[in-house]
């Protein structure tokens, strides 16, 4: 019971690892952004689910209700979601620009095909450009 009682955290962990894996393993920039979104969302769920109190009601004052859920995480995560949307927007915009400039958005390809271009002002050196 205790095991299942924390199911929200397991979901968070699974989502987080999927997102993290996608960010690291995928070269395609759109996919990277998707992974990033998953990763962020898992953090949001962590916050929100922590605000839920068993048997608690919505946090609106009314008669006959003693236990309320914690509204603060919702407020915080509202802000974080906005931040997440903004990040996604900037990331996508950059991908579009990169696509215009290079003709593709595969990170690995970009650093392999044109190592000079990534650091226009220097000779290629092995240890810097692959992240």
């Amino acid at each position: 019971m205790a095991f299942l009682g924390h199911y929200n955290y397991y979901i968070v962990v699974v989502l987080m690892m999927i997102g993290f894996y996608v960010v690291i393993a995928r070269g395609n920039m759109v996919k990277k952004i998707m992974g990033l979104n998953l990763f962020q969302t898992s953090a949001f769920i962590l916050f929100i689910s922590a605000g839920k109190i068993m048997g608690g009601s919505t946090p609106i004052l009314r008669d006959g209700v003693e236990v309320y859920s914690n509204p603060l995480p919702h407020v915080l995560i509202l802000t974080a979601i906005v931040v997440g949307v903004a990040t996604t927007a900037v990331g996508l915009a950059l991908s579009v620009r990169i696509n215009e400039a290079y003709g593709n958005i595969e990170d690995d390809l970009l650093s392999e095909e044109e190592p000079d271009d990534f650091a226009l002002t220097q000779e290629p050196s092995r240890d810097d450009d692959s992240s």
Partner: protein, 493 residues
């Protein structure tokens, strides 16, 4: 209005000016608005600093919601100094930046300067706030605008660098957010003072330790702690020169500040000592100094070389922090300040060179001392500060750091600091040798190779003068840093 009520305006003025600035047409208006608001912010910080140092923590509650319910701004010796550093550097950079920005971002300067204002107000906000979630919000404000600023670079590679920084930066911020989430779940508060009171009782709690780990990794990414530094060289070397100067002087420093504040003020020294904090930071700092310096030596262009040098300098700060002593923290804080002065000056020189000859490759720098004598002399002087030659700010940093290491009985730390200094001699002097002893390359366009104008030289030389001033008169830096270290070590924020 008392002085303390003016304090939030150092963040708000640039924040409010930003959207206005974005709408302004032409080149003169956006720049003027930016300069005025940044200057106002700097003036406020300069006025608040003596009070914060003298009277201890000043507190301001937003919207009159008393903390810990509302968001609190809390200013003491540490963040007052840092806030002044950020706003003062921004003020000095702007006059320098005008011609450079005209060259690198010819169109739509309104939005560009708006982004700069946002980035700056974000950094100020991180510094001044006393609320851990608020830190996240401002962190993202400054990061998002920084990504966009970097993408303004002339080369298309700037887009790639920006994207890579975006991925790493967002990961770091989210790590931090998760850490904050754990803290909130266990304590029910987000206010730093409140957290500091509640955490000691929970010192053995596994969730709190996890939170500590997440926050360290998240901030480690933001401050480019070796080996989480991979985003930095690309971002620094492809961004517009002005952005590079600003980022190098301030952005990573703010991340260091957050780390210091949380580790020492919120979690507390005992908690940090119980965790393997010391060992991790010492190892990463030492390895970072060595390998980043080595990379700097291998580079063949100025911006990348200095970017790697920045990574190694962060290693010094990490090393200083890892000593977990007042002397060590004070050395770290002094180096945060002094490094901003020297790296700012060095990147300004590079910006001036790029503005004139359109390249920062070593191969193109031959004989430049003849055509740009004042810029190159400034480079040499700032480089000396970087090496840690006496009478410069860098020497004070080195002295403080080595004394702290000797005091802690850590001979390895002394050794690695000295090795790092000697490696700095190599990478700085390589450039000096090329600029002073080698003839100009055959294909050089001599008509472009001449000294930059006064608008660039004056800010540059102000920073150079500051490098020497703070190498001789250390009342401002060393004393406040010591006070700040005491605050961090011994008291709640």
């Amino acid at each position: 209005m008392t002085l303390i009520e003016w304090m939030p305006f150092s963040v708000l003025i640039p924040l409010i000016a930003a959207p206005v600035c974005a709408l302004l047409p032409g080149r003169v208006l956006p720049w003027t608005l930016t300069f005025v608001s940044v200057l106002a912010s700097a003036v406020i910080c300069a006025l608040v600093l003596p009070m914060a140092v003298g009277e201890g923590p000043l507190s301001y509650a937003f919207g009159n919601w008393p903390p810990p319910v509302g968001i609190e701004y809390r200013v003491d010796a540490v963040n007052a100094l840092l806030a002044l550093l950020i706003s003062a550097i921004a003020t000095i950079i702007l006059p320098w930046a005008r011609v450079s920005v005209n060259d690198e971002v010819p169109d739509r300067q309104g939005p560009f300067y708006a982004l700069f204002l946002l980035a700056m107000s974000g950094l100020m906000g991180i510094t001044l706030t006393g609320d851990v979630f608020n830190v996240f919000v401002f962190l993202e404000i400054s990061s998002l605008s920084t990504y966009a600023l970097i993408a303004h670079g002339k080369n298309r590679a700037a887009l790639l660098a920006s994207f890579r920084y975006l991925i790493m930066g967002t990961l770091g911020a989210t790590f931090y957010l998760i850490g904050v989430g754990f803290l909130y779940i266990q304590t029910g508060t987000l206010n730093m003072v409140d957290l500091a009171e509640r955490l000691p009782a929970l010192a053995d709690d596994r969730a709190i330790r996890t939170a500590f780990g997440f926050i360290i990794v998240g901030m480690g990414l933001k401050l480019a702690l070796f080996p989480l530094h991979r985003w930095l060289p690309g971002a620094y070397s492809n961004a517009p020169s002005m952005v590079t100067v600003f980022l190098a002087a301030t952005a990573t420093k703010v991340a260091v500040y957050v780390l210091l504040r949380l580790v020492f003020s919120v979690f507390g020294v005992e908690f940090a000592l119980a965790m393997p904090f010391e060992e991790i930071f010492f190892t990463l700092g030492a390895v970072g100094i060595f390998f980043a310096s080595l990379s700097a030596i291998k580079q063949t262009s100025l911006k990348r070389m200095l970017a790697y040098s920045s990574v190694s300098q962060i290693g010094y700060i990490a090393l200083a922090i890892s000593l977990i002593s007042t002397a060590g923290l004070s050395a770290g804080l002094v180096h945060i300040f002094n490094h901003a002065l020297m790296k700012g000056a060095l990147f300004m020189c590079v910006g001036a060179i790029v503005y004139r000859i359109g390249s920062d490759r070593f191969a193109d720098l031959g004989g430049l001392a003849k055509q740009m004598p004042l810029t190159m002399l400034a480079f040499v002087l700032a480089g000396l500060s970087m090496i840690g030659v006496p009478l410069t700010a860098g020497f004070i940093s080195k002295w403080a750091l080595i004394s702290a290491a000797i005091e802690a009985g850590n001979g390895y730390a002394v050794g690695i600091v000295l090795i790092g200094s000697l490696m700095a001699v190599i990478y700085i002097w390589r450039v000096v040798e090329i600029a002073y002893l080698q003839p100009a390359p055959d294909n050089a366009d001599m008509s472009r190779r001449r000294e930059v104008g006064l608008s660039m030289l004056i800010p540059l030389w102000i920073l150079i003068a500051a490098n020497f001033y703070f190498g001789i008169d250390t009342r401002l830096t060393l004393d406040i840093a010591t006070r700040g270290a005491e605050v961090l070590m011994g008291m709640t924020p």
